[in-house]
């Protein structure tokens, strides 16, 4: 096989791993709280700035900056739920979308105010590795592995803990949960914190690959929403698989054409899927 094509395939899978995390976080929050966090990519953006600031400005070791980013964005997720989402839980969905959309512009504006529109780089890179005939970026490979570990931890949490099992249950039937001794409000808080932590982890993996600026969310936010809808909103496994599918389409599309062209292919594919399977590729 053409080694460049092979490389495109490998890069597509690596890209999918990074898309998978925000898709999981968004799906988790939507499945449990039944509200779409339109500002999800902007939480990731704040996380990227957090790492950049702690590492390049405050002089923290990179590992420590990463470790601080997760709880910081988890707290941001909590605040988003408490301040914006909870008061609107019984409002029409359009109000919820508008409110979290407002947070999107607020966070972009706040980041511009604090950090200006300059592109900020972490300036760290790992040497590329040669696997067989294929060159793989060490940074991308490390990010991919970290994304898989994060997804694995999330899976184990949802599968084996009481709270995780309750999270999967509440996604189907929230009204009956009090009869199980579950306070839905508490589960919403936990899901919001976990959703935030996933955005924090995604930020760590992206900030080593992309320069951060206030509008960086636009480069992966729309794709994340597309992935979630394609996998079936709220369907964690569907979103996870759709992330890899999209990663492959973008990467292989870029191999045959340009990167811009690959996004055209990805969005066209999305539109076709929406016509053929409006509830998502993996809807049962």
């Amino acid at each position: 096989m053409d080694p460049f094509f092979l490389e495109a395939l490998v890069n597509g899978i690596l890209l999918g791993g990074v898309f998978a995390l925000p898709a999981l976080g968004l799906n988790l929050v939507f499945g449990v709280v039944d509200v779409v966090w339109l500002c999800y990519a902007e939480l990731v953006m704040v996380g990227m700035y957090t790492v950049w600031f702690l590492y390049t400005q405050a002089g923290w070791p990179l590992g420590l900056a990463f470790a601080a980013c997760l709880p910081a964005i988890a707290v941001l997720g909590l605040l988003l739920h408490l301040i914006v989402v909870r008061p609107l839980l019984s409002s029409p969905p359009i109000n919820q979308v508008l409110a979290t959309g407002g947070v999107l512009f607020f966070l972009q504006g706040a980041a511009t105010l604090v950090f200006s529109t300059d592109f900020r780089s972490l300036g760290v890179d790992m040497p590329p590795m040669e696997v067989g005939e294929v060159f793989v970026s060490g940074t991308k490979l490390a990010a991919f592995i970290a994304a898989l570990v994060g997804a694995g931890i999330l899976w184990a949490f949802l599968k084996f803990t009481y709270v995780g099992t309750a999270i999967r249950a509440i996604a189907r039937d929230r009204e009956v949960m009090p009869l199980m001794g579950v306070d839905p409000q508490k589960i919403y808080l936990i899901a919001s914190a976990v959703g935030g932590a996933l955005a924090g982890l995604a930020a760590c993996l992206l900030v080593v690959q992309l320069d951060v600026h206030p509008f960086v969310g636009l480069s992966f936010g729309p794709i994340t929403f597309m992935i979630c809808v394609m996998g079936g909103l709220g369907n964690m496994l569907g979103g996870f698989l759709a992330a890899f599918l999209m990663g492959l389409i973008i990467s292989v599309g870029g191999f045959w054409g340009t990167t811009e062209f690959s996004y055209v292919v990805a969005f066209a594919f999305f539109i076709i899927v929406m016509f053929l399977r409006p509830k998502g590729l993996f809807a049962r």
Partner: protein, 246 residues
């Protein structure tokens, strides 16, 4: 049997003058009812009499507009619904409301969510499997794939996981084939032998009167009659309305 499995029957549950409804619609007009520790009590009546509303009021899913609701010396109208399992009150809701995409055992796990129940999970699960061996065979099967009777077993098992003192059963026979209805009432008898207090709401008057000690007849939101099961079963008016007799 250990304390985790064999609870006491709890205090008395007592309602009086309960008025409740949804929006402009009033479903209950001053209902009074009492369940003594260890008793099995039925609430029977036609569709739309307010039976389900009554159980929802007890579980705190609907707050009464007037009246008192006491469990022992506790005022239940002031307790958030998710704290009731911790007090020993378990509610098997209408239509069972299992989590169809979770396995049988995961459904039981959700039933053991409260902090105090988690410590007893394995013992109680094994006990549920002992009571309903069918559930043990199906433990890794998705609850949505169970038959109606099995789903009822699973729903009752899930309620038992919180270690209740009183079990509230809402229409356990609804939507089941006649033969399965028989089996479900056998289950209820077995639950009684566990020493639990039971409050059961049913349209199937003939069946429920064979299982409970006493019953209330609810008609359009009011208690129309009450008494011991045998007396009610012999009452000509009730025979005419509910038992198809003369």
């Amino acid at each position: 049997m250990s304390a985790a499995l064999k609870p006491d029957a709890g205090p008395r549950l007592e309602l009086s003058g309960i008025q409740a409804g949804y929006g402009d619609f009033q479903a209950l007009f001053g209902v009074g009812l009492r369940v003594e520790p260890g008793e099995a009590v039925g609430v029977v009546g036609p569709n739309g009499a307010g039976k389900t509303t009554l159980l929802r009021v007890i579980s705190g899913l609907i707050r009464p507009r007037a009246g008192t609701l006491r469990y022992g010396d506790r005022d239940l109208t002031r307790v958030p619904p998710h704290e009731l399992p911790g007090l020993g009150i378990a509610h098997v809701p209408e239509n069972r409301r299992l989590f169809p995409h979770l396995t049988v055992e995961e459904n039981l796990k959700v039933g053991a969510f409260t902090k105090s129940a988690r410590a007893h999970f394995e013992k109680r699960r094994d006990h549920v499997y002992e009571l309903f061996p069918r559930m043990k065979q199906r433990r890794h099967q998705l609850a949505g794939t169970l038959s109606g009777g099995e789903q009822q077993m699973c729903a009752i098992g899930r309620a038992l996981m919180s270690g209740p003192k009183i079990l509230l059963l809402d229409e356990p026979s609804a939507g089941l084939a006649p033969l399965v209805v028989q089996q479900v009432f056998e289950l209820v008898k077995r639950i009684r032998q566990e020493g639990l207090t039971v409050l059961i709401v049913e349209q199937n008057v003939a069946q429920v009167l064979r299982v409970v000690d006493r019953a209330y007849v609810l008609e359009t939101g009011r208690v129309a009659a009450e008494g011991r099961s045998a007396e009610l079963a012999a009452d000509p008016a009730i025979r005419r309305s509910y038992l198809g007799g003369h």
